[in-house]
Symmetry: C2
Amino acid sequence: MQRPSADTSSNTSSNTSSTADSSDTATAGTLLTCYLCDQAADFLRALRTTPEGGEEAALDLRRPARRISAALHTFRPFLDAAWADRLRTELAWLSGTLAREHAYTARLARLLEALGRLSDTKAEPALSSIGAARAGALLERQLTLARTRAHSAALQALGSSRFHAVADSVALLASEVPLDPSAHADADAVDGLPSAVESSAHRLTEAVAVLPLGRASLPYNAEGLSDAQDAPWHTVRLLLRLNRYAHEVLYADLDAEGRPGLDPRVFGAGQALDRHRAASEAASAAASAARTPRIAPATAYALGVLHADQRHEVEAARYAFQQVWQQRAAVTAP
Amino acid sequence: MQRPSADTSSNTSSNTSSTADSSDTATAGTLLTCYLCDQAADFLRALRTTPEGGEEAALDLRRPARRISAALHTFRPFLDAAWADRLRTELAWLSGTLAREHAYTARLARLLEALGRLSDTKAEPALSSIGAARAGALLERQLTLARTRAHSAALQALGSSRFHAVADSVALLASEVPLDPSAHADADAVDGLPSAVESSAHRLTEAVAVLPLGRASLPYNAEGLSDAQDAPWHTVRLLLRLNRYAHEVLYADLDAEGRPGLDPRVFGAGQALDRHRAASEAASAAASAARTPRIAPATAYALGVLHADQRHEVEAARYAFQQVWQQRAAVTAP
């Protein structure tokens, strides 16, 4: 995320510097305030240009909302904690509501792509075309309905007083960040924020240590068949994102790759776990569609193949995560 | 396979030496005759001790039948070719007929094991227990019926005049192997049989070269989803076995591991491709069960999951084959 240029700097209040290029001399308060200002400006701009809602608008709003929420979490000790917690709760509600429509669109696309692959007529297909077509039609009906409901819910949310209250809180960030007066917000940034970022990296390391990476490194281990073990991987996915955003606060003026101390593995690892989550949810959607009453056996069979296929995608994503994580560890180990 | 001891050496004719320990001095004719004698004796012994048929008896008969057939194939230039071809056809019929009962037993066991794994109640299962139970019952019914029919067919074959003709031909081997009088059967074994074994190794290498090992070395490549590409792998499986048996002829008195020139990869590679074939046929059985009219959607769904699971087993077996094949190649490469 680039630091906003002149057109948004008018939003920054007088007690923050919008040109804090050097993190060595900037105070913790200044860096954090700048970052939150910038994100708040992005949020308010997204709000102005796309008042109608829709998937695009939702993406533009969610991007800064996620970052504000992450900063409130990682740098909570520097902020008015009660206020930060309250805003995080509201941002989580907003992000969750806005995310749903896009998630259904992506899930349907993933499942139809998989059905196409599984019933590919270039080869002897794993699925009969009729079973695949019926399963595709069923999924399309169910996920389109879910998406339409999510769209309505997003529109309703954007028109609600609850949303206006969130927007007001974010607007406050664009003018004045409620720092904790008793905290070390004015201490040297070198002592302050980086230690919070280090804590974030530490939580990530601890969460990764819980993952069965040894098993995941053995291909075709059949560990992905059930979704009982998905949760710790989802946790790591969120922590990877928090860690990446935390570094943005410190080095907003640098490219992602150039940020000192940022583990270069977080990008590839994050992509692998995005795929992990998408496949996990697509598998659930297939299983849920199979519980529709009175479906034809051919449809149910196709959904079974599809479910297993997506659970193997889950396993493949864990393997990919482990490849990214161990490979770079080996490179940086000496 | 150990060389038979005294109790069977009475079957060997006077023109062969049953103590041809050194392949350097034995003639091609002697080595080949000894080997075929020994296998014929094993075949006849299996026939005597288990006239009732059944899976055990079938295994005991198939073991020497496969080896005789392989030797007739690999060393065809040293034999009366028309006679060898005729006997091979008959042995193939017999082996195929006798193999079926055991194959259905093994297939059912594999599928029930997979269903158990997929509906394991220790974790959130991939399959509902009811769907798994119904699919298991359906498979059990169908494969048990198939096995019963195979058993009857095997019994019928063992009582047929066709079988008695095969037994007579094999008995001939135990007393006198029809060598090709015009061929190099009396040449030094060093020049004769080993070149036939080398040809067998060459055919194996060529067949492996056709396999997409590069793709197979990338886990989760989704290449195994369809059975359109199974055939070349099945071919390599058969050639691995032919190659292994060909070395038995040359070095019957040595342990498998000690046979000079035998690629040590053939054992692990053969196991991987046995698993490949078993999974491929189990997947077909699941797909075929799903075409049963009027099954419940839950049953069809479970069979779909099972089919995909076994096709992933196919992919895993290819990965395992490639691991065995490339790893040892790297070790012996320097």
